[in-house]
Amino acid sequence: MSDPSDLFLLPLEDWIQTAVEWVVANWRPVFQAIRWPISYTLDGLEAALQGIPYLVVVIAMFAIAWRTAGWRTGVFSIAAMLFIGFLGLWDKAMTTLAIVFTAVVFCVIVGLPLGIMAGRSDRFWSWLRPVLDVMQTTPSFVYLVPVVMLFGIGTVPGVIATIIFSLPPLIRLTNLGLRQVRTEVVEAGLAFGSTRWQLLKEVQFPLALPTIMAGLNQTLLLAMVMSVIAAMIGAEGLGLTVLRGIGRLDVGLAAIGGISIALLAIILDRVTQALGQARRDGPPVERRSWLAMTLGSRPRPGGTPATGENDSSRGPSERFSKGGG
């Protein structure tokens, strides 16, 4: 008589067991269909990253970091990548990158539309919000159980667990970004006869982009974290190195795995943070898409206006004059 369960034992455990078994038995095609694109993307990315000579990867990382976050981050990324290489963890780091990128790609595919829908519909947001709350308060290990049940073990289930774990911030910040766009600016868009799609494309999305990029940054860092935990269900990469180190009480091995993860995380954090900071003040800037910026290509021809340098030195107030028109 020391425990409520002496009176009555709720057999929830059995119910769940039965339910999951039923789902696994009957819904197999669905899970295979989910698994397939992820597996395909992951294999492709991993093969690419492993196949490209390390020097090319290092230089590419440098170029991306330099163009987006400045030369300091560029130099740091060279040093960090070479350091990981010298630790003998290059292949594992590339696998981890492949896992993280795959997870982020699918987070964007799923999270961006959900975030946009949430940002434009109070009803959808009120429904989605508790789901996100539950997702974010659930301990990361707990995700592993149903994933193993439904998808088995290995790297692909690890990626699926990573996607689920790192999805919420992107949805939340996309929603927030859209809602933060000033009412008057949205009204201006509508007052000129925008459709909902035009409003999203021309006004809401570009203005929400810095916030959305902050969400992407968070998602990416969470994916990095989860890629380690996902090693417990057989995901490969640096996480597995750490797990093995812990399992064998090999502190050195665990530590170099951990250090490598931290270094990768720092590079990716800096780069994605820089992508989120758009510059819209001051003199006319060279117009490029951020994709072009990332790849370091030249600005579009005709992008730089003729009024360029002269005007930029003068303050707007000095230049203010009564319109001649």
Binding site: V185, A188, L190, F192, G193, A278, D311, P316, G323
Partner: protein, 403 residues
Amino acid sequence: MPVKVRAERLSKVFGDSPGAALEMLDGGASKDEILRETGNVVAVSEVRFDIEEGEIFMVMGLSGSGKSTLVRCLNRLIEPTCGDVLIDGENILAVDEGRVRELRRTKMSMVFQHFALFPHKSVRENVEFGLKIRGAAPAERGAAALDTLRLVGLEDWAEHYPASLSGGMQQRVGLARALATDPGILLMDEAFSALDPLIRRDMQDELLDLQRKVRKTIVFITHDFHEALKLGDRIAMMRDGKIVQVGPPEEIVSRPADDYVVDFTRDIDRGRVFSCASIMRKIPPLQLGKDTLDTATRRMRQESRDALHVVDGEGRPRGIVHAGAIARSVQAGEPDLADALLDGFPTTPETARIADLYTMCGDGLPIAVLDSRGAYAGVLMPLDILTKLTPDVPDPGTRRAMP
């Protein structure tokens, strides 16, 4: 002038049970009573007005009087609870969403209090926006944007971003953006309220200049009575969601409908409100070559005045004759009206405000008011001017003392 915008019993209620609020409103309940009973806010309450093509129609009211809601009902950014809005005779509350978009794209555009420029687009892209939404080709809309920017004097700033412009310049961009689609109707929601006083005055002058060129129907929301007087062809005074008076500035000032309107008119410079045309006396002049000394004397007696203006064959004033001068001419045996003429006399165009005439009043001579062709239109006595400067309404002390 045809009616461009018509509002019929237009109401907007914010809240859960607008039906109940509307019923109370029909029953004559006040905004406060409705809020207490139903928890609904009546923002616009049975408003009706006609706005003629090409006029600047000012909606004047304090904050919370529902004027911003009203203007948004005109392009359905806010869905009215009941009533009709007719644009060129078409009831826009009865049409579907697609037609509303079409109307917004072609017939009306809007200028916002805090400019509401798109910070991620350059000045040119901002001005192009309406055309882009409409589906115009890049080259065409770029050229149109530059033309419109030239109109507001900002063509050199086309490739800058709004953040690098001063407030006044940003609002010019806002204005250019609204003009670029060449709409018939311009909705301006407190367009100049966020600007510094001096810039605001410049912008007001510029809007009047621009209006002479583009001739739009402008619905202009403001809480600044001076702005309303300066810009408006007609002013609608709004209070608690209702329009309490509509009329030209001079009428609002000279015949305020209630104490609320009186309060606004009290501290304004009346000399800047009244034009010469609005207060002049239309006394027919004498005509050279037609009238004689005899008829002049008779006319003076008829009009009970001791001086009259004399015009030539084209109606242009040539001078003044005084009763005294006529008497002297008759004594001297000079029978012609031309000989009795006094030619140093003050004149003013009929569009001038009476504040411009203060120095002329010093002479004590009647002032000839000229129409746009320079012909005699009427006469102003210095005393008329001074009388007009004093409000007809009692000052606050005596008014409050009355039961």
